[in-house]
């Protein structure tokens, strides 16, 4: 079922079939109809590899995800699904590449082998080697999160510093004096993971603005660590009455530790932060938190990438999202 076969059966040349399909040159109505008839009859579709070779583009986007060993968070998973869906709307396919901070075989295969027209890079570090690699390869790309000094680059990010700042102000308004930030894992912070670092600076800055006493702790991305972390906080700083967190994976553990300590939320202790809406709703009570808009980020990322692919010379654009904090039931006035 190749284009030559179609041409033969329709009694025309291969180029005429090609033009009938692409519409890049006029084809007489009679011929077009004959060709379309044959195509429909045989269920023909052009071979994607051949087309990619000839056109010099693959109609495929690469999506670099964190390695599976480090479990993807709920937000990240929603993001992946949305990217695939938005790309499909553009008639683009999505190739997945699990890759740690260092560029591994999978990443190299996609980038150097010209398997994709552009790349979306998830969970980038403040100084990410893969960014340099993509620039060197002159492959269009959009990062989720931005590097420390995003000269002229394309990215989409959530303004963690600002969101955390708002959370702190919200707690201060409620009368809290002693607050803690439950950050993500040590390793991520050490590796230079932007959201973790920016949350931390935003948190400390806001606490200072409002004259609060602030502590920050790192917590591995799993329930057990959440419990341990909370107990640690109670032991070290018993005066703390509210927590801000961006660590979704630790929430179940946090919940359990709160119950064990027989603390009522928000009566005895307030919790807020940046949390996927679905998880915030699942908490008991539902969490007052900013929801990372994974779907919108995916749409923006794909749109930016498509724009960049269409015109590689365009001046880079970016988007810094500031989703609103949804008021639910986990924050209340200080009461001790």
């Amino acid at each position: 079922m190749n284009i030559g076969e179609i041409a033969r059966r329709a009694g025309v040349s291969r180029s005429t079939v090609s033009y009938a399909l692409s519409g890049k040159r006029p084809v007489s109505a009679a011929t077009a109809q004959r060709i379309n008839g044959v195509i429909a009859e045989l269920g023909y579709r052009p071979n994607a590899s051949a087309r990619a070779l000839a056109e010099g583009r693959t109609r495929t986007l690469g999506l670099v995800i964190p390695p599976a060993s480090r479990r993807l968070t709920d937000v990240q998973l929603g993001f992946v699904a949305s990217v695939v869906e938005v790309a499909a709307a553009h008639d683009l396919d999505v190739l997945l590449s699990p890759s740690g901070g260092d560029h591994d075989r999978s990443f190299e295969r996609i980038v150097t082998g010209r398997r994709v027209d552009g790349v979306i890079l998830m969970e980038i570090l403040l100084d990410d080697p893969r960014v340099a690699r993509l620039e060197q390869e002159a492959l269009p790309f959009v990062t989720i999160g931005h590097v420390e000094h995003p000269g002229a680059s394309w990215w989409v990010d959530v303004d963690y510093a600002e969101l955390i700042r708002r959370c702190v102000h919200h707690l201060a308004d409620l009368g809290h004096q002693d607050v803690v930030l439950i950050n993500r894992s040590d390793e991520l912070v050490a590796a230079g993971y932007g959201p973790a670092l920016r949350s931390s600076t935003g948190f400390l800055a806001a606490a200072e603005e409002r004259g609060l006493t602030a502590h920050t702790v790192c917590c591995a991305d799993e329930p057990a660590a959440g419990s341990a972390c909370f107990e640690d906080i109670r032991r070290r700083w018993p005066e703390v009455t509210a927590a801000v967190t961006i660590n979704e994976a630790a929430l179940p553990g946090l919940q359990r530790a709160l119950r064990r300590a027989d603390l009522d939320v928000p009566g005895d202790f307030s919790i807020t932060g940046v949390i996927a809406g679905r998880l915030a709703e699942a908490f008991h009570p539902p969490l007052t938190a900013a929801d990372v808009p994974a779907g919108e980020m995916a749409r923006l990322a794909v749109d930016l990438l498509v724009e960049q692919i269409a015109d590689p010379g365009a001046t880079p654009r970016n988007a810094l999202l500031q989703p609103a904090i949804a008021l639910r039931s986990s924050t209340g006035a200080r009461r001790r």
Copy 2:
């Protein structure tokens, strides 16, 4: 940076470079070294599209996932991540295609355009049109779940009927007389989703074996539905003392409803079923449940697919997994 350029700089023909790279014909040590030197210097990698066209295979697997609109469950997400990782170990890339029961554009693009060497089909229905499509296209594929009458086909599945049967026996051993199955959504059941149907039959059969009174309900895949569903159960069958479920998404709602009804687990009410380990641990108390081994399923699925691609004439194989039920703390003796 194409193979001609490498050949020119190494002073050999294109075919010699190709043979040096593939090792399919001997190349003298001196020439090989010269070629490798040039390749390393220029950072050359063969163009994936050209190679795919020439070889007739893309070194890419297609993974058909449920559409993003229907949120992927935790297990499914773990599965996707594992598939990508296992495929990467085989030096294969993974192309994602969101597709509902009906074959849509994305699915057709992947299948007909020969973009992939084989397909893994998630969440198939008992009678799935996409299976027929793949057979017609003579494209190797492995299904997750099996169709009603899997003549000679390749698949991997979890033995829901058996697992649910064991759950019921476990509850019967603890003295429970009245049990309920909280199944997945009406729509899925109506569409002929295998695990839902097989869970139901396994549940009823086991209850009969042990002389239990059994009820089954469907529940949409979201927390709110879980609450409503549980309240409905209490109202209709107040004598029920234990539930078996495969609906992970409803768990948070179930949890909330239990608390509202002031029921202690497992003192007043026992819960078990087939649940992702991570979610089972997050429940309060941790759930006694069978864990769907997403990682192992992914490994098996990819291995089977690779085997089938290597030898399309091989006799089909399949795997029916029966993971053990992990005893945690959500089931106890009947006490009323």
